[in-house]
Amino acid sequence: MQVDAVPNIPNLPELTNKKFTGKLFVIEGTDGSGRSTQISLLSAWLEQRGYSVTHMGLRRSNLVSAQLEQAKQGNTLMSLTMSLFYATDFYDQLINLISPALGAGSIVLADRYIYTLMARDILRGVDRQWVESLYSLAIKPQGVFYLNVHTPRLIERTFQKKGWLDYWESGMDLRLSSDIFTCFCRYQKRLRAEFRQMQKVHQFQIINGNRGIEEIQEDLREHLRQFLGAPTK
């Protein structure tokens, strides 16, 4: 895999004259794929080794996260508008959170990144090339790890954790079926297909997420080790 040792500086006016010494790793995967568990274990591991860790995720910007949450509840925005709204949230975090952290030599762990955003948009009929250019000014991560969990396992975990299926995670707005369970299964299948397609372009590492927590964690650490110069414990 061809990856730069440090992140590139995209052509954004806010990032001129920046120098990045940190690293950016992305964990991708649908809800219930175990992303947050793996990220908190990775953070503990990195901090134990003396690395500073910064977290980013979707819908966490100061700028528009509250409005996005509102829009999600209301289900009133159309595809392009929603897409640009999320892009605003993303770029706000890129400029005000990720960039300073990378400049200060921190390791940024992203709980999902542009790939989930792009996949969602594409499934909603937004032009692929358009979405790709919308996010073309994102910082390219050192590693993208996609936790691939097959649908039966995902259903098991989701029900175990929450007890119900989320409207958006089931893609109910796409009306793939009148019942939410069938819709969830179809939507997740489409998402996975989309991720598989993006994998070639964006060089994901596909991590088998059907295994136990420790096994997956060990796998992730193994991948991260090659990017970290410091001692191995």
Binding site: N11, L12, P13, E14, T16, N62, L63, V64, Q67, A71, T76, L77, M78, S79, L80, T81, S83, L84, F85, A87, T88, Y91, D92, I95, N96, R124, G125, V126, D127, R128, Q129, W130, S133, L134, S136, L137
Partner: protein, 250 residues
């Protein structure tokens, strides 16, 4: 694979889009209002839309502007969000329904402002590539000093972003506004050449400008097609036959 912009430009719809652009103080809002009144009184199907007017996104933009949280890139994307909301909800459906849509500022306002703030023009144009090109874009051109005098005459309170204060060219809002408007004007001049704006001399009398605007509109648009209840049935055919897909996917 065709790009989103080619798709946008190759779309078929019976409506017409007329946009006005120009510096603050160029009188473009007055002109488009007079055009709207003229078309309305002649019983044509016409609707008006203004920049920054989407209710859904307005709350977010005004809050962000007040708290000065926007940087050039998020200033660009949040306005694009606002525009997309109006476009998907209002402008494009109106064009599909066979209306004449009058836009007080269109994507070119964003092109000019974002370029001045240092955002890559290629990127901005790609972001807005879903939007159809207006059938006519009037550019109300006037000397920088004239527009500055018209705006600054009453010593108005200039809003932070309106004066370009976020760029830190000057601590004085009036000086900052002058610098900002000067840069915007340069961008408009370039955009005018690139996109084929119809230039109107905004130093002329209001009625004289309006006369010219109306003449050009009647020359370029077959207005009799836009009388209420006069829409030829076959103009809808495209949209009736083609299965509905989200705007950008067509």
């Amino acid at each position: 694979m065709v790009s989103a912009s080619e798709q946008a430009q190759s779309k078929h719809y019976p409506g017409k889009l007329i946009a006005v652009e120009g510096l603050d103080g160029s009188g473009k809002s007055t002109q488009i209002y007079l055009l709207k009144r003229w078309l309305e009184l002649k019983n044509f199907r016409v609707r008006f839309t203004a920049w920054n007017s989407s209710v859904m996104v307005k709350k977010a933009t005004s809050k962000a502007k007040k708290r000065q949280l926007l940087t050039p890139t998020t200033f660009c994307t949040i306005h694009a969000t606002d525009f997309a909301d109006r476009y998907e909800r209002e402008i494009y459906p109106l064009l599909q329904a066979g209306f004449i849509v009058l836009a007080d500022r269109y994507v070119f306002t964003a092109f000019a402002r974002d370029a001045v703030r240092g955002v890559s023009s290629d990127w901005v144009e790609k972001i807005y590539s879903f939007a159809v090109k207006p059938d006519i874009t009037f550019y109300f051109r006037l000397p920088l000093e004239t527009s500055l005098n018209r705006i600054l005459e009453g010593r108005p309170t200039l809003k932070y972003h309106e004066a370009g204060m976020d760029m830190h060219w000057s601590n004085d809002p009036y000086e900052s506004f002058r610098i900002f408007q000067g840069k915007i004007r340069k961008e408009y001049e370039e955009l005018s050449k690139k996109w084929g704006f119809v230039e109107i001399d905004a130093t002329q009398e209001i009625f004289a400008q309006q006369e010219k605007v109306r003449r050009i509109v009647s020359e370029k648009i077959k207005l009799e097609n836009f009388l209420f209840q006069q829409l030829p049935l076959n103009s809808y055919q495209g949209s009736l036959i083609v299965e509905h897909k989200p705007v950008s996917a067509q």
